[in-house]
């Protein structure tokens, strides 16, 4: 296999990308703030703890059921801050535009960003604009960086999980991944599935305000729930058992997965949070999530079963137990 060029697998959120990040970027940039590779870096400034994160958005198609690249750019970065337990305050927005990109489309995207930020009570305070010649970027690429403040005085990823902790998901999985795939040409599928793209800071704040039981959070984006859980298992060397029947999945998402041979656990989500919660607080956290419109399908999906190999296992619908791994490579429809 030829490794001298970057392939799509390197950007897919699975094993190849993790290796690229570890063996190149982290290796070269290495420092204690970067190395945990959490969704946001936690910085200490005087007495405050700040959370700082960045993401670039290259989604195709630019507009899809449930959102567009702009809404995604705002929500994604807000969420990376929110899952660290931080209150998102400010965003930057950098635009790389292709010559010939229709201004009307740009206006729709920017309008979306503005509305989303306003609703989330986050301000876009700085930015950048570049235009490149036709053909040198695919319409529009957006980078957003975000700054938030940690009210708890620490980032959430620092709390270790223990045996018995519950794994909670805030709602149904797989919609964003399927909405994007269905909107691309070549699939020819008619579905009402919409991306779940949403800013989660309000949902998360409503839980953290009422419960002290949340130990860890992540938004399962590229690579899906499988990537988020395997990363947790690896980083904390804990073993996790998930029950397939407990995982909420919309019928339409299930149907597309069956048809094309995908696993809902591997699909991206842009409006969901997975949490690890103390056993005594798990039911309460689910209840708190369900009170919020974005968390109405929240459920306990599994438990931390111990510490050791850092394995995630799945009890299947049929009753057997199997290993859950990082999704490998690129997602593709399967026929054979």
């Amino acid at each position: 296999m030829d490794n001298r060029v970057i392939t799509l697998s390197h950007g897919a959120g699975g094993e190849a990308m993790r290796r690229l990040i570890k063996e190149l970027f982290v290796k070269q940039f290495s420092n204690p703030l970067l190395n945990p590779l959490a969704d946001a870096a936690i910085l200490k400034l005087n007495q405050e703890r700040l959370a700082f994160t960045t993401d670039s958005y290259v989604v195709k198609p630019l507009e899809f059921p449930g959102g567009n690249i702009g809404k995604l750019a705002v929500c994604g970065t807000i969420n990376d801050l929110a899952v660290m337990g931080a209150r998102p305050l400010y965003l930057s927005a950098g635009f790389i535009l292709e010559e010939g990109f229709p201004t009307l489309a740009l206006e729709r995207i920017v309008d979306s960003m503005s509305q989303t930020a306003r609703t989330a009570q986050v301000e876009i305070v700085t930015g950048d604009t570049k235009v490149v010649p036709r053909g040198e970027c695919d319409g529009i690429f957006i980078n957003t960086a975000g700054l938030g403040i940690c009210p708890l005085g620490h980032g959430l990823s620092e709390i270790p999980t223990t045996q018995g902790d519950a794994v909670v998901i805030s709602g149904t999985i797989g919609e964003h991944g399927i909405a994007i795939l269905a909107a691309r040409e070549g699939l020819m599928l008619k579905t009402t599935i919409e991306s779940d793209c949403a800013a989660l800071n309000d949902l998360i704040a409503s839980v953290l305000k009422e419960s002290k039981g949340v130990k860890w959070m992540r938004d399962p984006t590229r690579g899906g729930l499988a990537a988020a859980l395997t990363e947790l298992a690896e980083s904390q060397e804990c073993d996790i058992l998930i029950r397939e029947v407990s995982i909420p999945v919309q019928d339409g998402v299930k149907a597309v997965c069956e048809l094309l041979g995908f696993e809902p656990l591997h699909l991206a989500n842009e409006g969901k949070v997975v949490m690890v919660v103390e056993p005594g607080e798990a039911e309460r956290v689910v209840e708190l999530l369900r009170r919020h419109p974005l968390g109405h399908a929240a459920a306990i999906i599994g438990r931390i079963t111990g510490h050791g190999k850092g394995m995630v296992r799945l009890e299947t619908e049929a009753g057997g137990v199997r290993r859950l791994h990082q999704p490998a490579g690129e997602l593709l429809p399967r026929i054979c």
Binding site: V5, G320, P333
Partner: protein, 365 residues
């Protein structure tokens, strides 16, 4: 009735598993499946976990991507470099390594390689892009062959000049004969491929029970189907019978799908075909009939690098059921889904991929 979920009922699955333990088997039995779809289903639903220790499942040459030798991909890669060519392929093939590169590598270097869920979709795309020559990579067994026959018939009927097939299509019965003739894995029962049999009917496999005294059951793909199939096979073994039974009664008919068989015969004829792990098997492949040669990509003049098979790769042994994927020295260390050495690891239905992704086995870390 829910056609999918009803056949995944965990309670029924558990009860059938219990029935299996009650069958009076006087020895360990090994049951082979020869269908990537079965491999994937067994691992995805973790059915191994539910079987008694005396019943083992092994995988055979059932993954059409895995059994396709390197020269097919090498040829496809060479064709992808020709001007105005678009390679149309099923997703499974994109990351499979040929002798030195994969189609994904070629795409990264600018070749026009497109994934289609259906060959019919690729025909429509070709119609909309008459300036491109679309070459469809035909991998699969009889189930896929009939769909390709239908698409090609449509292409010929509508006088499409820019759509061709590069065929690596294979048929199962001859391969199974070779598999059971040569000494190899102990096979006490055969789980027959449910969708291939949907097309060809089960008479084509009757010789396995008669000549080799191996019990056979045509199986569906849901957990309940596979468990019922295993129960039926265990009964045959315990009763010292060897016949063909049909578990997939709701879909498979004895004579198969006549229309599909007709279309295959109309468009294709048998040819010799090379199978990874089994060598060249006479009459086990399908190629377009001479009268359709203008739709055949096999005759496109192109220089293909001499094909090499990776000598350390043990896909051949895995495909014959001789070794378990974890017994390959490269498994999980050098060979992973992201850095595959052989097709069995990168194909979504390869045995190595299934074990790597779904097994509790602590893989090579």
């Amino acid at each position: 009735m829910e056609p999918l979920t009803d056949f995944r009922n965990a309670h029924i699955v558990r009860q059938i598993a219990r029935e299996i333990t009650r069958v009076g088997l006087d020895r360990r039995v090994q049951l082979m499946e020869v269908c990537g779809g079965h491999t994937a289903a067994i691992y995805r639903h973790a059915l191994h976990d539910l079987l008694p220790p005396g019943v083992k499942l092994i995988s055979g040459p059932g993954c059409p991507v895995c059994v396709t030798a390197n020269d097919f991909l090498d040829r496809a890669i060479s064709i992808s470099m020709l001007p105005d060519v678009t390679i149309a392929t099923f997703g499974d093939l994109i990351r499979v390594p040929g002798s030195t590169r994969s189609l994904a590598d070629m795409r990264a270097r600018g070749a026009d390689v497109r994934v289609f869920y259906s060959s019919a979709d690729s025909l429509e795309w070709a119609r909309a892009h008459p300036e491109r020559t679309v070459i469809f990579l035909g991998i699969g067994f009889e189930t896929t062959a009939c769909t390709l026959a239908a698409t090609l018939a449509e292409a010929v009927h509508t006088k499409m000049k820019n759509f061709r097939l590069l065929s690596a299509l294979k048929t199962m019965p001859e391969a199974l004969r070779v598999l059971f003739t040569a000494p190899g894995a102990q096979v006490d029962g055969l789980i027959l491929p449910g969708h291939v049999t949907t097309i060809v009917g089960w008479d084509a496999f009757e010789f396995i029970a008669r000549e080799f005294s191996i019990p056979c059951v045509v199986s569906g793909f849901e957990p309940v189907d596979l468990m019922e199939t295993i129960l039926m096979l265990c009964h045959q073994v315990a009763e010292k019978r060897a016949s063909i039974e049909n578990q997939y009664r709701r879909v498979v008919r004895k004579q198969g799908n006549i229309r599909a068989q007709e279309l295959i015969r109309e468009m294709f004829e048998p040819c010799d075909m090379s199978w990874r792990g089994l060598g060249v098997i006479p009459g086990s492949g399908l190629k377009l009939r001479t009268m359709y040669s203008q739709s055949d990509a096999a005759s496109i003049p192109v220089e293909v690098e001499p094909s090499q098979e990776d000598s350390a790769c043990r896909c051949g042994d895995v495909l014959r059921g001789r070794i378990h994927p974890t017994e390959c020295a490269l498994f999980g260390t050098v060979c992973t889904p992201d850095t595959p050495r052989g097709a069995c690891m990168v194909s979504a239905e390869g045995a190595c991929s299934a074990v790597y992704h779904f097994s509790s086995d602590h893989h090579g870390q």
